[in-house]
Symmetry: C2
Subunit: 274 residues, 2 copies
């Protein structure tokens, strides 16, 4: 999504050219290029699909709507398996229209996980609950903290349900480091994503995620937390940003790879070509 202006073949070619070894894919662009064609394209290019984003949106009360959501999530599991990734990222969904019941909505997320977890396991796919920033609690994701995500995940086996740590959503939370330790000890950190926090937030607060290094989040600090918790998986950069989407996608990808070296993988004293 960081470079959604690129077609799937352009994205894959740019990753290969830059030496980016893996890519997290979203379902819409995969559908646009075709599931089988995308799977073949990334496999032939030697790229790893790190995660598929996203399943979820489990909070409907209406039985038909709920059945549709679960059916869509089973398809997402199958797509993840076809793409060769073992991780499906889940965004829980917000409050149904007119509802004020966060607790009830979170319970419906648990109910859905109970149905989806075993199905995912049979396909070799792990579910990764992503807590979104509390500013999305009403309209997008009733799971707002790592603690809430883990409270949900721990009702199920770790190979079925874990969590996603995204710096953008958890950076403000002083309890997040110990929740990351809790998740790591149980083998439940299934995905780790980076974005920086920049202000002012745009209207609707969706597409203002900052390029690494532009904001208030110390990326090395958070990488340190997940590594100390035993995480050795891929690190994704996921930027929803209107300004980045308006630019040349290859240039944005190259910039992002450079920022990744500068702000994430190099040691502070290293000489780095940005």
């Amino acid at each position: 999504m960081t470079v959604r202006q690129l077609s799937m073949p352009e994205l894959v070619a740019a990753c290969v050219q830059l030496g980016v070894p893996g890519v997290g894919l979203w379902r819409d662009p995969v559908h646009a290029h075709g599931l089988a064609a995308t799977a073949e394209l990334v496999r032939d290019a030697g790229l790893t699909v790190t995660t598929l984003c996203r399943g979820g949106f489990f909070t409907a009360i209406d039985p038909q709507e709920r059945a549709r959501a679960l059916a869509g999530n089973r398809r997402a599991v199958e797509e993840a398996a076809t793409l060769g990734t073992d991780t499906l990222v889940l965004v829980s969904g917000g409050l149904p229209a007119g509802s004020k019941d966060l607790r009830g909505a979170r319970e419906r997320v648990a109910d859905a996980l109970a149905e989806l977890g075993p199905y995912a396991q049979r396909h070799g796919v792990r579910l990764a609950i992503e807590p979104l920033h509390p500013m999305y609690a009403a309209d997008r994701c009733v799971v707002s903290t790592l603690a809430q995500a883990l409270d949900l995940a721990e009702r199920f086996p770790a190979h079925q349900v874990g969590i996603t740590v995204d710096t953008y959503h958890v950076w403000w939370d002083d309890t997040a480091p110990r929740q990351i330790a809790r998740a790591g000890a149980a083998g439940r950190i299934h995905s780790f994503q980076l974005a920086d926090w920049t202000t002012p937030l745009p209207e609707g607060v969706l597409n203002g995620r900052g390029q690494l290094g532009d904001g208030t989040i110390d990326m090395r600090e958070w990488k340190g937390y997940v590594e100390a918790a035993g995480y050795t998986g891929p690190i994704e950069v996921e930027l929803f940003n209107d300004a980045l989407w308006a630019r040349d996608g290859r240039e944005v990808l190259a910039e992002t790879a450079g920022r990744f070296v500068t702000h994430v993988t190099s040691r502070p004293g290293d000489a780095v070509r940005p």
Copy 2:
């Protein structure tokens, strides 16, 4: 601030007319009308000043800037005393430019409270740390949760430092009810404010606080939490809302008083004239 389009005399007259017994004041409008004149106006009208908003902005690193902030806060304490309120609400301040150190900023808030608390006590004023929603952590308030606010407050006597519970800022937090209980048991709920959560959020996310009943927050539920924790003080409605500010202020105040009855003080089965 809910009806900042009204002058101080208009505000006071409208409160009296509607039977609103108390009013929370902000410093700027008080300065605009004059401190002594405002104190006399509200006293003569028989209104209680529930709180003064706001002090705070304690997070500067620069010593001169820090000294200026503390001096400003001492004046705010004096103004609160002159206005006859025992509560000064504090918004902590955000990260200094270029800083990524939330922990350090929170410690500087504690340092400021250590200086300001005894000064406030000598003036008969209690400080009320208001945690703001985590979406303000970078640019406005590094204290994002009731737990963080209480961790700070508990370093000081309860008659010096407590907290503000504002539904808008804490509604998403499943740990907030037990933090309210923790605060109440220690006599640290110094102020209770209401606003509803509506989406989409406006650019900058400052002025989109919803009129009571328009959003996703169950006001009675939160009133129940603070009352169960022993709170018997005033309940303020504080709406920053561009749409409300664009309307006739008396009309907005009357509407707000009606919403307060409908969504806060009446029992669900009551017949209510909105």
